[in-house]
């Protein structure tokens, strides 16, 4: 069955006829669908749009950093019309707008782009297929999850247009800053940010419950735990992180909402002075409480950002080296350890808050511990390359680049995790460099790899290889040109979140030039995304057609369905006989043995 | 965990509460000497006993339902 020629759309629909056939209309088929594949694609498209939007915000900010207080050509006047002169004056971006863009860039990238793409899109599309399930366990909850996400996104975006503009206190929304940033308005950008977050949290809660249940309950016959593809393990752990890390932020979000709207003082300390007079609130609250609740989510969240990408990369490396993943079990145990440890490292973001040296020492220790399983995963993937006859296609190039890029991101995290060095590096451009290496050339490369890899499954056509390679090499080069100089700026002592790019500080003089350099590189990066966009749309209509249901000659179950998979996925209930990565098994007829191929 | 099992856990937690309440009531009575506190303590002890009996009856009645 695995090697069957493409089952045409007609025949698979006929076979589905056996059960019960219904022809849903446009709305129930593409918009309010309960099919995990459609929902996955909805997630994917929405998230890609947000990714682009977040990137555009950043390009505008980079313009301001490169040429502080100079009018933005072309776009400046338009923004001025749309957002008003408080935000853009004579084409010049004002500090308020810079702060709003910064906060929204972070929020959009983390909560509306990467997580939905990694967990919502890939998780939805691929997970049920890989475990041999007909759909998610709760299809209607799955749809609700998408619509909560969509609504959350709409609320976030609409906050740009209310009086006072969008939230301005960073994606971390530290109190009391977030409560006093815009006191002229009762309902301000921060209010909408919080409402948006509550919607997004509901969405990911529904998603997480659904994913975990699906993976526990709907595995095909023979799909034992140690036969699960690593991608599914990564999604399972991600699901648990979302399930258990988000509620404290929900609690904190509600508290901050009540603080801002109804004058309570959960996070407002006694005697807080704003603009020269004492704030008329009861006080008695704790700003540290917000930080604890936020980072209890915040740190597991960074693993939500990275684990699905690791899963994708693992699948692609196994497929393109044509050999089993080295140390599959150690990968699984490591990812479980990472998941567990990620709940007890959060206060390494708070070394400078004065929470006490004993607490700092504890969190420094756990932070060093968590880097061990991360390194094991990376090492296992590197060793898997050894002795393989590697196919250098576009998915593989992105997957390969992921490894060193994530490596740089992780290694630069160690000095941040150590209390003594972090006191110097905290809140500098070094931190920006660190986590962008993990998420941008790291996670985003993993996600691109996944798009190129599973595109044929979703559409029946390949993406164009030449355009793909242009996209890859350009992105790799410019990603590094953008983020590597940030380490230098940070080590020189340049703070982040400054709308003049740090020009007011004499100490920054020697690294100010890099601002312009980085901004140019960011434009270069933008240019090299154009081949991807063209490729994506062109290939849907006219990409090279696949000649079999298993074009990459892979072993996992998603390739034993018709292409694209019909409602209900599998024509015949799949049975699993072997592990996920049986490539080049000695004595086998072919260099790959699909999981559902009888021994 | 089935509803049956969770109910057992629930009854145990309630029992812990009523025992705690009786300690709290008698403790207050020792200091204040008010009859209200005494009644509170006695009432809680009675509730604890009632909960134990109830739990036992419950387990007997639902013997055939699985714990899983």
């Amino acid at each position: 069955m695995a090697n069957a020629k493409t089952t045409s759309h007609g025949t698979s629909a006929d076979q589905a006829h056996d059960h019960h056939h219904y022809e849903p209309g446009f709305w129930s088929k593409y918009i309010f669908s309960t099919d995990h594949k459609v929902i996955g694609i909805q997630y994917g498209i929405t998230a890609l749009v947000f990714l682009l939007f977040g990137f555009i915000l950043m390009l505008l900010m980079r313009q301001q950093l490169a040429k502080p207080n100079q009018p933005i050509p072309v776009i400046g006047p338009i923004l001025e019309k749309v957002l008003g002169t408080d935000m853009v004056n004579s084409g010049v971006m004002q500090a308020d707008l810079y702060n709003a863009f910064g906060a929204m860039h972070g929020t959009i990238m983390v909560f509306l782009a990467i997580v939905p793409l990694a967990f919502g899109a890939f998780g939805n599309f691929v997970t049920p297929l890989q475990i041999g399930a007909p759909d998610m366990a709760f299809p209607r909850l799955n749809m609700a999850s998408y619509w909560f996400y969509f609504l959350g996104g709409v609320v976030m975006l609409s906050s740009f247009f209310i009086p006072g503009g969008a939230a301005k206190s960073g994606w971390t929304s530290y109190s009391p800053l977030a409560s006093i940033a815009d006191m002229a308005h009762w309902v301000d950008g921060q209010t909408l940010w919080l409402i948006g977050m509550v919607l997004l949290i509901s969405s990911s809660l529904l998603g997480a419950v659904n994913f975990i249940t699906t993976i526990i309950q709907l595995r095909a016959r023979g799909m034992s735990w140690m036969r699960l593809p690593f991608f599914v393990w990564a999604q399972l752990v991600t699901g648990f992180l979302l399930l258990l890390a988000f509620p404290p932020l929900e609690a904190a979000g509600i508290m901050q909402l009540v603080d801002n709207l109804f004058g309570t003082s959960f996070f407002l300390p006694t005697g807080l002075v704003v603009n020269g007079s004492q704030l008329p609130v009861s006080g008695g609250g704790s700003p540290l409480l917000w930080q604890h609740l936020f980072w209890f989510l915040g740190h597991p969240e960074v693993y939500v950002l990275i684990l699905p990408a690791m899963g994708i990369v693992c699948e692609i490396i196994a497929n393109n080296t044509r050999k089993p993943i080295w140390g599959y079990r150690s990968l699984v145990y490591s990812v479980l350890c990472v998941g567990f440890l990620s709940f007890i490292v959060w206060a390494h973001h708070m070394y400078l808050t004065g929470m006490g040296t004993k607490i700092s020492t504890f969190f420094q220790t756990t932070t060093m511990m968590i880097s061990i399983p991360s390194v094991i995963i990376l090492t296992a993937l590197f060793i898997s390359l050894w002795g393989g006859s590697i196919r250098m296609n576009t998915p593989m190039l992105f997957a390969l680049a992921f490894l060193p890029m994530f490596g740089i991101g992780g290694l630069t995290g160690l000095p941040l995790g150590l209390n003594a060095t972090d006191i110097y590096l905290h809140d500098s451009y070094y931190v920006i460099g660190h986590f962008h290496y993990v998420v941008a050339p790291g996670t985003i490369f993993g996600l691109f790899a996944g798009i190129y890899y599973w595109f044929p499954k979703a559409t029946g056509r390949f993406m164009n290889e030449t355009l793909g390679k242009i996209h890859f090499w350009g992105s790799l080069l410019f990603m590094n040109l953008v983020f590597a100089p940030m380490f230098i700026q940070g080590m020189k002592g340049m703070s982040r979140r400054m709308y003049d790019g740090g020009a007011t500080y004499a100490g920054n003089a020697s690294v100010l030039g890099l601002n312009t350099f980085i901004s140019h590189a960011a434009i270069g990066l933008a240019v090299f995304q154009i081949p991807f966009i063209i490729n994506f749309f062109m290939s849907i209509r006219s990409g090279k057609k696949i000649s079999s249901d298993n074009p990459w000659e892979a072993t996992t179950l998603e390739w034993s369905t018709p292409t694209p998979p019909p409602h209900g996925n599998f024509i015949k209930e799949p049975v699993v006989y072997r592990g996920p990565y049986e490539y080049s098994v000695p004595g086998a007829a072919k260099d790959f043995s699909p999981q559902d191929q009888q021994a | 965990m089935s509803l049956k099992m969770f109910h057992v856990v629930f009854v145990l937690c309630s029992l812990a509460l009523t025992i705690g309440l009786s300690v709290w009531g008698f403790g207050n009575y020792q200091v204040s000497g008010r009859p209200v506190d005494l009644f509170y303590g006695i009432g809680s002890v009675i509730s604890s006993v009632a909960l134990v009996i109830y739990g036992w009856v419950f387990l007997k009645k639902l013997k055939h339902i699985s714990f899983l």
Binding site: V209, F262, S265, F266, G284, H292 | -
Partner: protein, 283 residues
Amino acid sequence: MEIPYTVKPRPDTGLYNAKVGIWLFLASEVILFGALFSAYILLRVGALDGVWPNIKNAWPHGLLNIPIGTFNTAVLITSSVTVVFAWAALKMNNFARFRICMVITIVCALGFLCIKSFEYNEKFTHYELRLKSGKAYTGHIEVNGKHPGFWDFGSIYNLARLETDKVEKVKFTADPPKAKPGEKHDESTPKHEVMEVATSDIAHLDAFIPRNHTFFAIYFLITALHGFHVLGGALVLAWFTFPGSKMWLTEPERFINRIEVGGLFWHFVDLVWIFLFPILYLL
């Protein structure tokens, strides 16, 4: 292919899908309430000394109505008992008994909410007063001959409100000094002290509402969140009992599963209260 294990349990896990789902959801709820409990502890430990009238530590203590709280606890425990019996009745094929038990559960839930709103009202009409002279009281106020009530939110007063409304004085009925649990009662003090207070003498005046103190803020937040859970649970159970019970005739096994899932949620909600009650009211 159809989605498996929607009704029958999967052999190796022994669970049907919805049961896994509800437990995962409850796990996340545990963390949600856990976060709020932690917030409560942090705020209480961090409270400053000597801000609340007559109390050393600025964490107002002993202000909640313990008899009512105890009664409400009993109401919720009863409702958990009846919800299990409803489920067991279905297992024994007794639909009529199922319905009776379910109705009792729902009545208990609504009773809990009514009693809770009575408690809320008590707090919304109760005031804290600190004078510039340093004296501090709790009690009830009368402004222009009217007692501000719960249902018209606009009528809750604080000092700023008195000033903008140009109210010159208020009548204040101070509470009798109440023995806090565990303290010796002093019978010699007068019962109610009634006084006229000039607005210009007031340093602070506000009702027992969230903005007045972080204790009330966290108390109202946690109990309101719990109250919404009670309300939501009651609505779902009511739906199962009346319109949704048609499923009993067509898919009885699936219906029993639903009731079990609903019962699990209901138990969780009640369990939260069993922790909330001693922590908020007694400790």
